[in-house]
Assembly symmetry: C2
Homo-oligomer: 549 residues x 2
């Protein structure tokens, strides 16, 4: 790929940053800039809040942190010049400080010729769903056009292009050649298309292509999927980076639009693969960024723990996964066999810790019955999982899925124990889909399908009393998941749900379960919260909520 | 108390509402209005978001809830008329809907003559500390003056008087006779004086007395302390309601200010009593609003569990408190004696559940050492506490204090188990102060001081290994608490802390402990969070935070 005299080359550096890690993030900026300049790029674009990581939440309020970020931007500019990259324009996100009030800002700076050459402050500060920015930052008021090698480059940060008006509306009147946006846009199922439509709309508005550079990687309970792209006024995709991996791509802007050179477009992922990869990346990055080399998880023989263990082996390798089978007198032989087979398929460590003797020991002292006797079995397992975690320095994984967590069908301090819950945002019917997809993927790559077929096909059971089935307590999952989507995601009330065509008994059952679970979860927080949309969008409800529709 | 022909009587209904409980809150409005009218009041004032409770968080987004609140306001207006109170002006807070965009608003309505007579929407929406209002509500744009019996009454809601400009600035030009504010202002140590100063400043600005009506009661992890007051331009308190109790007070406004009649002022509480009562009210209301009649708590003989059990017996009576002594081989006889004596002093149930046999049973299987062996003892206790909770329907209480939680000096799924943590916002040195205050209070009321003196005086120990002392792992609490206040509350960085005069070793130890605890707590959420100011102000930090100063 070469570029003519009239063109300017953009490098799209879709990187994975870590919150607070100024040194590590800065190192990555250097590394990707070196590669970019080696490929003759003039403008190197990094994601929103590159240096600080994103989202930084209340860390923004620490003046020491803001000062360190400022020092890092200047040090980087110097070093880039020292390395001979003075001519490059390196666009990075960081935290800034509002000169008037001394408050934090979400800022883009351009490193050029050894200095911090220009800056732009985000105007629209999202404050819904997972976003808290209005709480943290003050708003920039000015639009900015960079003049580089005869090209007029308008800039914006993430939410600035999601809202009408503001800086983008101003840029529409400023005869720009390209609109450059840096983003930290979390993954949601189907969001790729929404972003493309939005990009095309803004391209039309400003009469210029839009460069959409997104962050990639897991950060706590969010996953950023990357999928950066460039789109023109006609909605034609000029470039698309892959999802879920760091990537460096190039694009040449020329005054003759027909000359703009495009790389091959990365192909789109189907929903199941996309969601599976999002879960694996979320877990992998959580482990990396928190310095865990391995995980431990209770293997019941059921589908949830099987899928989570498989994701874990994809995230860190089977030999870093400790599967613990903890059978009781209610565990079927089939469940034990499935757990063992799964571990063998994954190449994972496999340990059996029967809970029977400890359970007897508690019972001789406490004589528990009913729910209390069921819960204590789950809690003995929780204690054993944490004993492995403490002894071996492993991250304990909680296997709960979204349907089960939404309905409170789990034991606090029992199966809910864990530092990370990879499928907490995945409904049970989707858990089966992802398991089947993973097995098919293995088959199509001539690998052994990892998940035992009987784990996928058998009726779900907690195995805490004889003959127990999930369907004793919950509607069938195919129905339950539809009601949950309407009640949680769409916030449909009782009348809406009936109008949706669900029968009254099911509606009342599900609403009662979810309301009660929400209440219990906030009394005894579990870690995994049930979110209103896939991947991290939280309903913030008060614990005490006496409202009943 | 009578009122002349020229006057108008205000009733200050300082009530305790419950989030979501439209019926219960409405019933309370009726009850207090009846008493107010019987006392010749014309204007009856209730706190912010009376009908819905406060804070309602994302519940505001449910259209079904907003509609139900609107129906409730209309039904109340009708019923007030039916009961013969058509002439009264009943000022209540509720959730409204923005006509243009269909979004929620924080609204004041006046019920009068059978209808919802007037309304005002909150202008300034706080979005810091514990507040999320800008996220939830849209902003009202108009100031409102009510004309009642020849008096001009300006109105405002809570934050509207904390910010300069906006509706209060407009009211200053409108020749009002009184500024009526309804509030949901959470308790913080020393906040009473801040509110009085603010009230006086606004009274000066609008040239009229300010009525400050505050909510009272615990709501989840917040405590609203009441302490409603009326203050004039000169900063003179014309009325002050007591803290921590529901209260109905009256005040007469006349055109001749010197004639305004004041009730006796409630006396101010000293800091220790104020904080103790805040904790008890928080726990009591959490139990009431979540329908718990009793609590269970592990009694170690230490000061934290002793103080929490004492607060619990003050909240719900000693016969509703189950104290569980769970000694191990490392528990001293003194600790067991102190636990038994405390329970006896409180009239609480007392059970002994030795953890030795269960511990042996786990160890024969797991052979744990070091921290893992320490943690499993705490986790066996957590399982036993939850077994009591499940079997008897009791609320499990976590005894952790703020110093310990800030430094991570507790075991997740162990002593951190519990649905409510009454002293999570109380530093350890303050725990001792509150315990001593409670004993002195008993003495001064000729009661038995409940807390054994040796629980107060002995060196703190987790008793998880022979001879263990807190001071093996932590700086002395007198010093630790000072550093914690500076680091957490004041957000002082390392350089600031050294400038504060703390020695380098202590500063580095405390920063390392707090940063690591923050990180661990967000990996394995405990329920009780460490807050930056007393009673609920949360630091929102990302889990993964690689920033080290």
């Amino acid at each position: 790929m070469t570029i003519g005299n009239n063109g300017i080359r953009f490098a799209l550096a879709q990187i994975d940053t870590c919150v607070g890690d100024l040194d590590g993030n800065g190192e990555k900026v250097l590394e990707f800039t070196r590669k970019s300049v080696a490929n003759k790029a003039t403008v190197v674009v990094f994601p929103e809040m590159t240096l600080t990581g994103y989202p930084i939440e209340d860390l923004a309020f620490r003046a020491t942190f803001r000062n360190a970020a400022w020092d890092k931007a200047n040090a980087l500019a110097s070093q880039l010049k020292d390395e001979g990259f003075a001519d490059a324009y390196v666009v990075v996100g960081t935290v800034g400080t509002d000169n008037e009030r001394g408050l934090p800002r979400n800022r883009m700076v351009i490193l050029h010729d050894g200095i911090v050459w220009a800056g732009y402050d985000k105007h629209f500060l999202p404050n819904y769903g997972v976003f808290d920015e209005f709480r943290i930052f003050t708003s920039g008021q000015k639009s900015v056009v960079l003049e580089i090698d005869g090209y007029r480059i308008g800039v914006a940060i993430c939410e600035d292009i999601w809202q009408d008006g503001g800086p983008v509306a101003e840029l529409a009147t400023k005869n720009i050649d390209v609109l450059l946006t840096i983003n930290g846009s979390p993954y949601e199922a189907g969001k790729g298309h929404t972003r493309h439509e939005l990009g095309a709309r803004r391209a039309k508005e400003v009469h210029a292509p839009v460069v959409y550079l997104n962050q990639v990687g897991g950060q706590d309970d969010l996953v950023f999927d990357g999928g950066s792209f460039i789109i023109d006024e006609d909605g034609a995709l000029l470039e698309r980076s892959p999802q879920f991996v760091e990537h460096l791509d190039f694009w040449d802007l020329t005054h003759d639009a027909s000359m703009s050179s495009a790389s091959a477009l990365s192909s789109e992922l189907a929903t199941d693969e996309e969601m599976y990869r999002a879960c694996v990346l979320g877990l992998r990055d959580y482990m990396l960024k928190n310095h865990f080399a391995g995980v431990c998880i209770g293997l019941s023989g059921g589908i949830d723990s099987a899928l989570v263990a498989t994701m874990a082996s994809d995230a860190c390798g089977g030999d870093n996964v400790w599967g613990i089978s903890m059978p009781s007198t209610y565990s079927s032989q089939g469940s034990r066999d499935d757990a063992r087979l799964l571990a063998s398929n994954l190449g994972a460590h496999y340990q059996t810790e029967s809970i029977e003797r400890v359970f007897d020991c508690y019972q001789r002292q406490l004589h528990l019955e009913g729910i209390a006797a069921e819960n204590i079995q789950a809690r003995i397992r929780g204690v054993i999982v944490m004993a492995y975690s403490n002894s071996k320095g492993l991250l304990a994984l909680a296997p709960g899925n979204k349907s089960e967590l939404a309905c409170g069908y789990s034991t606090i301090y029992g199966d809910a124990v864990g530092g990370f819950a990879p499928i907490k945002d995945v409904l049970k019917t989707k858990v089966w889909d992802l398991a089947r997809w993973r097995n098919r993927y293995a088959e199509s790559h001539d690998d052994l399908p990892p998940i035992p077929i009987s784990s996928i096909e058998k009726a779900p059971s907690a195995e805490l009393r004889p003959g127990q089935r999930d369907s004793d307590s919950l509607p069938e999952y195919a129905l339950l998941d539809k009601v949950l989507e309407a009640y949680i995601e769409l916030a449909h009330g009782r009348a809406d749900l009936l109008a949706d065509g669900f029968d009254e008994h099911t509606v009342d059952t599900v609403m009662r379960l979810v309301d009660r679970a929400e209440w219990k979860r906030r009394q005894y927080p579990l870690g995994p919260k049930v979110t209103a949309l896939a991947f991290g969008r939280d309903r913030r409800l008060p614990v005490t909520n006496a409202f009943r529709e």
